[in-house]
C-alpha cells in the first residue's frame, strides 16, 4: 500500500523524553544545586523538541522556521527593555 511508505519520527519516544524532562525539572527543586540554569536548560530542551518534532520544523520548509524565528530577537529586546525599566524602578 502506498500510504504505508510514510516515515514518521518516533513521536511516542519524543513524548516520553518530554515527560522525563518534566520529572527532572520538578526533581531539581529538591536538589542542593543552582536551580535556574537547570530549569532554563530543561525548558529550552523541551521547547526545542516540541518545535522540531511536533511542529515539524526539522522536516518542513525553512520559510516556516524563518517566520517563527524572526520575533525572538524582538522578544529578547522586549525582555531587555522591561528589565531596564524594572531595574530603573528599583534604583
Amino acid at each position: 500500500m502506498e500510504a504505508k511508505a510514510h516515515r514518521h519520527p518516533n513521536y511516542v519516544l519524543v513524548g516520553v523524553i518530554l515527560i522525563l524532562l518534566t520529572i527532572l525539572e520538578v526533581s531539581v527543586l529538591r536538589l542542593p544545586v543552582p536551580q535556574l540554569p537547570f530549569l532554563i536548560g530543561f525548558a529550552v530542551a523541551k521547547g526545542a523538541l516540541i518545535v522540531l518534532y511536533f511542529m515539524h520544523l526539522k522536516f518542513d520548509s525553512r520559510l516556516y522556521a524563518l517566520l517563527f524565528a524572526y520575533p525572538w530577537p524582538l522578544a529578547l529586546l522586549l525582555v531587555g527593555m522591561l528589565l531596564w525599566i524594572y531595574l530603573g524602578f528599583r534604583m
Partner: protein, 192 residues
C-alpha cells in the same frame, strides 16, 4: 506518495500553514510580554499572598503531563491521516480535545482553590499578573479544544490524506499552546 522527513527549501509551502506560522510569530511577542510582565511584577507584593505562599506544584505538574500527552495525541492524529487511516486520526483528535478539557477542568479546580485561599485577581500585583498569564493561556487552550472538535466532528468529511492541512494547522496551534505552557510552568510555578 512517500514523504520522507527531509529538511530543506524544496518542501512545498502552503499558504494556510504560512498564515498560521505568521499568527504564531505574533503570539510569541504577546506571550513574551505577558511572561516578562509577570516576572517583573510578581515579587513586588506589599500585602496579600505571594507566589511562594499561594502556588503549589501538584496540579500544574499533572497539567504539564496532560498537555505533553495531548501533543503526542495530536501529532499521532496527523501521522495516521497521512497514512490514510482517517478513523484513527479522528480518534486521536478527540483524545487531544478530551485531554485539553481535562487541563481546563484541573485549571478551574486550581483557580477555585486559590480563590478560597484569598488569591484573587485584585488582591495584589502578583494575583493580577498570575491570573493574566495563566488565564490567557487557558483561553488559548479553550480555543484549541473548540478548533480541534470542529475539525474532528464538523469538518470530518473534508479531511483526507491529500488535504491534511486542516489537521496540521490546528496541530501547529495546539503544539504552540503546549510550548507556551512549558515556559509558563517554569516561570510561574518552578521559579516561584
Amino acid at each position: 506518495m512517500a514523504h520522507p522527513p527531509t529538511a530543506g527549501p524544496e518542501v512545498a509551502v502552503d499558504s494556510r500553514k504560512l498564515g498560521v506560522w505568521v499568527f504564531l510569530a505574533s503570539e510569541v511577542i504577546f506571550f513574551t510580554s505577558l511572561i516578562i510582565s509577570y516576572l517583573v511584577l510578581h515579587n513586588r507584593v506589599t500585602s496579600g499572598p505571594t507566589a511562594h505562599e499561594a502556588l503549589t506544584l501538584t496540579i500544574p505538574t499533572v497539567n504539564t503531563m496532560i498537555l505533553l500527552v495531548s501533543s503526542v495525541a495530536m501529532v499521532l492524529a496527523l501521522a495516521h491521516l497521512r497514512d490514510g487511516n482517517r478513523r484513527a486520526c479522528i480518534a486521536w483528535l478527540l483524545t487531544t480535545a478530551w485531554l485539553g478539557i481535562c487541563f481546563l477542568i484541573l485549571k478551574a479546580a486550581e483557580y477555585s482553590q486559590h480563590l478560597r485561599e484569598g488569591l484573587t485577581p485584585s488582591v495584589n500585583v502578583f494575583g493580577s499578573a498570575y491570573y493574566t498569564v495563566t488565564g490567557f493561556h487557558a483561553a488559548h487552550v479553550a480555543v484549541g479544544v473548540i478548533w480541534i472538535l470542529s475539525v474532528a466532528l464538523g469538518l470530518r468529511r473534508r479531511i483526507s490524506p491529500q488535504n491534511d492541512v486542516l489537521v496540521e494547522t490546528v496541530g501547529l496551534y495546539w503544539h504552540f499552546v503546549d510550548l507556551v505552557w512549558v515556559a509558563v510552568f517554569m516561570v510561574v510555578y518552578l521559579l516561584r
